[in-house]
């Protein structure tokens, strides 16, 4: 693993790797170099299996973090490539020419987070939801409990009488 990181650092401008286990590493790459880095890993270094492509919403920093998890089955190594995108203009180059399963992941990300991958086949077709009119649901500013209480008719719960609360109200009514 260390030899691989040394080789990659000479060629690309990547951050310091974070070693989670001996054979699992997370590297951060800039958005412009990301697709060429992934193509290099796929064709030259032998990371031929795309495990998953997902996104994490860091609302406080105003960023989306995309994670491409690549796996080399010969050497038994995992590399997680992290790319940070701006939250307002979430757009990224598509990798559908490398793997035929990538368009499915990209369709789901467009529908659930709102991250666009221009050029990916069938990117605008709804994948999971039908007739959805709100903001993309997996974003952190979408409140799912409030939406449920408004739209579906929740059954009101039982009235319980907590003795501690009742005594507190009786003895100290001004608090």
């Amino acid at each position: 693993m260390k030899a691989l990181i040394k080789r990659l650092k000479q060629k690309f401008n990547i951050s310091d790797p974070m070693y989670q286990r001996d054979n699992e590493v997370f590297i951060t790459v800039k958005k412009e170099d990301a697709v060429s880095f992934i193509t290099h890993m796929n064709k030259v270094e032998g990371f031929t299996h795309l495990v998953l492509l997902t996104a994490v919403d860091w609302l406080e920093d105003g960023k989306f973090q995309l994670t491409y998890l690549l796996n080399n089955n010969m050497e038994k190594m995992d590399v997680g490539v992290q790319v940070f995108l701006d939250r307002e203009q979430a757009e990224m180059e598509s990798i559908h020419h490398l793997w035929k399963q990538a368009p499915t992941y990209q369709r789901e990300l467009k529908e659930m987070f709102g991250i666009d991958f221009p050029g990916s086949p069938r990117i605008d077709e709804p994948f999971i939801l039908e007739g959805w009119q709100e903001i993309p649901p997996y974003r952190r500013d979408f409140d799912t409990k409030a939406y449920t209480e408004e739209t579906y008719f929740p059954r009101p719960g039982r009235k319980t009488h907590d003795p501690a609360e009742y005594m507190k109200q009786k003895l100290y009514p001004e608090e």
Binding site: G131, Q133, F142, T144, T148, T151, P154, R155
Partner: protein, 214 residues
Amino acid sequence: MSKNDLDKRIVTGPDGKQFEVDPMQDYFCQERPKVHEPSANKIWEKFLNWARAESLWILGYGTGCGAIEMRPLMTPRFDAFRYGIQWRPTPRQSNVIVIGGYMSVKTLKRVIRSYEQMQGPKYVVALGSCTINGGMYWDSYNTINRLDKYLPVDVYITGCMPRPEALLAGFEELKKIIKKGKGEGQNLYAKNFDEYKANQKQIIKNWDMPDYNW
């Protein structure tokens, strides 16, 4: 089905003639459902209720988690065939629909279509706690919370999952209800048709079916 398939449009036939086609009017009937009164002869009605209760044919549609406990019912260990319960592949041949657990909005549209295509008298059995008040997914944006706002339910079977023995007890309860003459789910649906439709249309945003699928 894309939106274009159901629009009104002009079509060229194989022999070159042009004619106008309106699928929503041509292929679907626009009648509302009717209320069926029980027959005046009490003994005949009792006999009919006995016949309906002893041959409940279930639609084979596993809508959610609950479907996983339907398979052991078919096997010799919990044998449901001896009670007259069979699985049928189409709605036209069945008269009970078993809603197994949670229902997302997409599934609700298909279940309404299947339910309305079934022939009367028909009954709805709701499995699990997700149909009563939302269950474990009470705060999910894609699952419905109360089933009886959209479909008339006859029997609830509680559990998460209900065991096959609980399912058989639930069917026994349904049989008692039918024999007493109280299996009125279908008439309830026909009487309060507007209210059920309004609830359904409120959450199903892309409605491209007729009001009642005959």
